[in-house]
Amino acid sequence: MGEILLPLLILSPLAASLVVFVSAGRLSACAVGTLACTGVGMSAVISVILSVMLLSGPATGTLQVMLWPWIHIAGFSADIAFMLDRISVVMILVVTIVGLLIHIYAVSYMHDDPGIARFFGSMTLFIASMLVLVLASDLLCLFIGWEGVGLCSYLLIGFWYDTPANTAAARKAFYMTRMGDAALLCGLLLLATAAGSLHIGTVLAAVANGQVALSAVNMAALFILIGALAKSAQIPFQTWLPDAMAGPTPTSALIHAATMVTAGVYLIARLHDLFVMAVPVMALMAVLGALTLLMGACTALVQSDLKRILAWSTISQLGYMFLALGCGAWQAALFHLMTHAFFKALLFLTAGAVIVRTHHEQDIFRLGGLRHAMPGLAAAFITGASALAGVPLVTAGFYSKEMILSGVWAAHFRLTHEWTLSGHVLWGIGLLGAFLSALYIFRCVFIVFFGKSGTTATGRTSRLMTIPLSCLCVLSLCGGIIEMPMTFPPLHLFSALLDPTLPPSHADEPGWLVLVGAIVPLAGLGVAWVLWGRPSPIMREIPGQAAVIRFARTGGGMDVVYDHLFVQPFRFLTWLTRHDILDHAITGTGRLTQAVSTSVLRSRTGFLDILTLGGRRGIRSADHLLGQIHNGRVRWYAAWIVGGLCAGLAMAVLA
């Protein structure tokens, strides 16, 4: 039965997407929404059934479905094949359930948009691609999903294409991820060449039994890491994600917070056997993750656009996941992926609802005091914010972040014999990040929902929107208790779930780690309250004039750097070479030939003219006709003949 359900899982949103696309303009908005929700809902149901089936089976059991061979020739094979194991179970549950909730929300959110069919077509297509990505048991198949989600992301960011900025943002996102994709493709080529197949099991086995040289492993891991970094908007590819907020909010929630951007995390977790062999790459990953989380948090702290705050926060949270991955805390990364999907989706959806009701006002300093106007939304947002900050015990974010921090503490990297990188430093960064997370998100909470009211809110949040919000609230709060820190009661469902597939990473952690991890977010919350939350806040508005703030607000100026370093030169060079140089060269040859022809003609008449001047004197007396002919031409011709004769004779005789 699993053999049927697994393809059906992907097919159901795909079919919904096709129907929606094909029937564009003919179905009503309501029908389109229903159709899309049905498609995603079906796959949510199927994924629950499949999870139950898989988890009730043996611990190492997987569900393999080989649909058809993609290509089989001597020395290489790839298939369209899917596999459900415990990692993908987590992913499909997250993707389909969060996806379903967001779809339901979007039905209401987008109900009056003329392009609703395009929207839902892309959204369901995205779900299908994402499922392909997470279920693929062949890297090639995975790559299909990988690029598919990128395409859907492009379509959705640029959904409101009337504004050039939106399409520019969409293109930017696609280009940056495409660079990563190119690197990923190189990694795939390398692995395929070395292992002769792209089947994940085969590849990993080949890596494990030393069939692939260590340098090749490192290279491949690096390539794949670049791909993952680009997809997950990590340094140095982080700049596309904030711009991607140009898309409709449900898109931001689904693609740019909950699912697609975590594809990089998933990919690395999936290929963890490969990365374990590549120690330097792991270290690089951890360091980049740490830097990103810090940088993302700092930038989020100075943003004034509500969605951008959330975007930078996403980057920062993804940094946590990469940090965890780099330290080998695979379970922690995936756990955080899951909880992050819940609370970030919640935050985005709530923000979207707020924005809709305040006439598309996104600047937090123009909002304010909204907790009276929309208490439900305020509660939801605060729930999400607490989870993001990791308020201890009651929120899911606390548990996952705690798991990461404890994993990081234990890690250390032996880069060379002398050079080791201890996890403690990274742990410190992570902790600082946690503090900053609490600070920036509660800054947002206090400014938007407390204090003086800025704008007037109208309307009501529709029922269709509140249902997903409340579901996500519950998930954000309780989603974490399935995995407790080691020092807590022995409830380790998540680890137990993943342990058969991923190497266990539990190390002994000192008990005070948890304590510190619990205190720091609270401290952040407190500082935020002191700064922005009190009836007379210390800081109402961040002084934007400070150069450092301005610098930080643009995301560390990376955009500008890239713009000057790559984009402008590229534009200039393409502008410079817009006409084909080779074309000119060859056209020039043609011109030259014509010029030669002309000069041959001229030499024929020109010489004649010169001779004519001399010759004319002698033939003045000739009669009219002869005068006409005897303009020297004939003499010239005759001279040619005689000249040719002499040349010929000379050649023959001298030869």
């Binding site: 993609w70 395409l151 009337d162 084909d580």
Partner: protein, 505 residues
């Protein structure tokens, strides 16, 4: 009786009939109102009969007994050892299928707009098809060259008479380049034949006999270069590509489709059939240069494509980029690369052909090809725009669609030869994203610039035709295996390819 001669001659005869039909109609038009498109129906009927014939050939061989599906031979000029030799293998067959599919596309989408002398248009169109099919099946080198030249003439006329504003210059350029390089190939053919004559005392133009000619390395390299230059111009490979953007841009839509879809493929076909198979050793020696040219083509074409504002020109340069992959694949020296190149040719034929059709449809409606002036069309023409988006995405190499399959296989074959080249080539993929999406965001998904009421979307029937192409591309992208088996070039020199496969992983 082999159906091959019929396969070759049918289009030209049908074309002649179509022309006659139009002339007769013109004469009778004074008495009765003309049923407008009798000659068009004639052309369609020709294509259908041709397709049936081809289907008969394809499915008449449920089990492939030998490598070659069909054979036909008839003496032509016995004193010179020239004969009408036609052979059909999977490679030819798949390329002929591609040609027919594209011809149907043109017939349905692009030729109805031709109102001036449409009968002559159909005749020339089908005559080009004859030349192309002849090129794909001829195994007598003289005959091959005959068809090779023959297909130029009608194409020249198509461009020069029915093209756009600067058509005549473009047509001249096209003809001069391909003809001039063709002469080099002629010399190579003659050199090969005469060497064969000297060695064996038999004057023949038979492909299979000539393949056995013992050649010195230098001579073999020289002769191969002659062939290579001719094919490189047709394909085109970068330094000699300059005819292509003009010709593609100025040609009428149907001719653009033929040019991009099939005419370029004759270059790739020739490289596989003649360069690599006739001169395997020289091809190996030449491979580094050819692969270098391929990469340069990929990058240069994509780069220039990024800078174009003329939509047809953009597609034309992207064709150059895609054909770079074909060169790369063919000269990797492995069967994998060659298969990749073939898939790439098929997929590019479909996607670029469809893009040209879309560009043509836009030009018919807006009378401009300038992307700045077209503006967003999605609101007014969702069906056309969606199709355009799909094919643009296909041409940027989206996995799951045919182009990616070709590119991936080529890269996979290139990697063991030179990881550096393969890595460099992937940059081309990034550039492909840039030009494809630039086009999408200028033409389809942008603020509308033209009054939407003036524009008529594609009729449903035409959309359905596009949908068929999309399905082809998806199948090619998700399930290329049958095509790989089906379209492999028949091993004339089994030894040559298998021995070189050892180089590959």
């Amino acid at each position: 009786m082999s159906p091959l001669p019929a396969l070759v001659l049918l289009p030209i005869m049908g074309g002649g009939l179509a022309w006659l039909t139009e002339r007769i109609q013109l004469h009778t038009a004074t008495t009765s109102p003309p049923s407008r498109n009798a000659s068009w129906w004639m052309m369609l009927a020709t294509l259908i009969v041709e397709t049936l014939l081809l289907a008969g050939i394809t499915f008449g061989h449920p089990t492939r007994t030998g490598p070659w599906l069909e054979h036909f031979s008839m003496p032509w000029i016995p004193t010179m050892g020239i004969a009408v030799r036609l052979d059909l293998d999977g490679l030819s067959l798949s390329l002929i299928w591609l040609s027919l599919i594209l011809c149907f596309l043109c017939a349905c989408l692009a030729t109805r707009q031709v109102t001036v002398k449409s009968g002559a248009f159909y005749f020339l169109f089908l005559m080009t098809l004859t030349g192309i099919i002849g090129t794909f099946v001829a195994t007598d080198l003289f005959l091959f060259f005959f068809f090779w030249e023959l297909m130029l003439v009608p194409m020249f006329v198509l461009i020069a008479v029915w093209g756009h504003e600067d058509r005549q210059r473009a047509a001249l350029k096209f003809f001069m380049f391909t003809q001039g390089s063709g002469l080099l190939m002629l010399l190579s053919i003659l050199g090969l034949v005469i060497t064969h004559d000297r060695e064996t005392g038999v004057l023949t133009f038979d492909y299979f006999a000539l393949a056995q000619t013992p050649l010195s390395p230098t001579l073999s390299m020289l002769l191969m270069l002659g062939f290579f230059i001719a094919f490189a111009v047709k394909l085109p490979v970068v330094p000699v590509h300059v005819w292509l953007p003009d010709a593609h841009t100025q040609a009428p839509t149907a001719a653009s489709v033929l040019l991009a879809g099939i005419l370029l493929k004759t270059g790739g076909y020739g490289m596989i059939r003649f360069n690599v198979m006739l001169f395997p050793d020289a091809a190996i020696h030449f491979a580094p240069i050819a692969m270098g040219l391929g990469v340069v083509g990929v990058l240069y074409g994509a780069w220039l494509s990024c800078a174009q504002n003329d939509i047809k020109r953009l597609i034309a340069y992207s064709s150059i980029s895609h054909m770079g992959f074909v060169v790369l694949g063919i000269f990797t020296g492995s069967r994998l690369g060659m298969q990749g190149a073939i898939i790439q040719m098929l997929a590019h034929g479909l996607s670029a052909g469809a893009l040209f059709l879309i560009a043509g449809a836009i030009q018919d409606r807006l009378h401009t090809r300038d992307m700045h002036r077209i503006g967003g069309l999605w609101a007014a023409m969702p069906r056309l725009s969606a199709s355009g988006l799909f094919f643009a995405v296909a041409s940027l190499g989206m996995p799951g669609l045919g182009n990616f399959t070709g590119e991936f296989l080529v890269l996979l074959a290139t990697w063991p030869v030179s990881p550096a080249i393969a890595t460099l080539t992937t940059v081309g993929l990034v550039l492909a994203a840039i030009y494809a999406l630039r086009m999408v965001n200028r033409v389809f998904l942008a603020a509308p610039r033209v009054d939407p009421l003036l524009l008529k979307d594609l009729p449903a029937r035409q959309t359905a035709v596009f949908a068929c192409v999309m399905i082809f591309l998806v199948v090619l992208g998700l399930y290329p295996q049958p095509f790989m088996i089906f379209s492999g070039p028949s091993p004339l020199s089994v030894t040559a390819t298998t021995s070189r496969e050892d180089h590959a992983p």
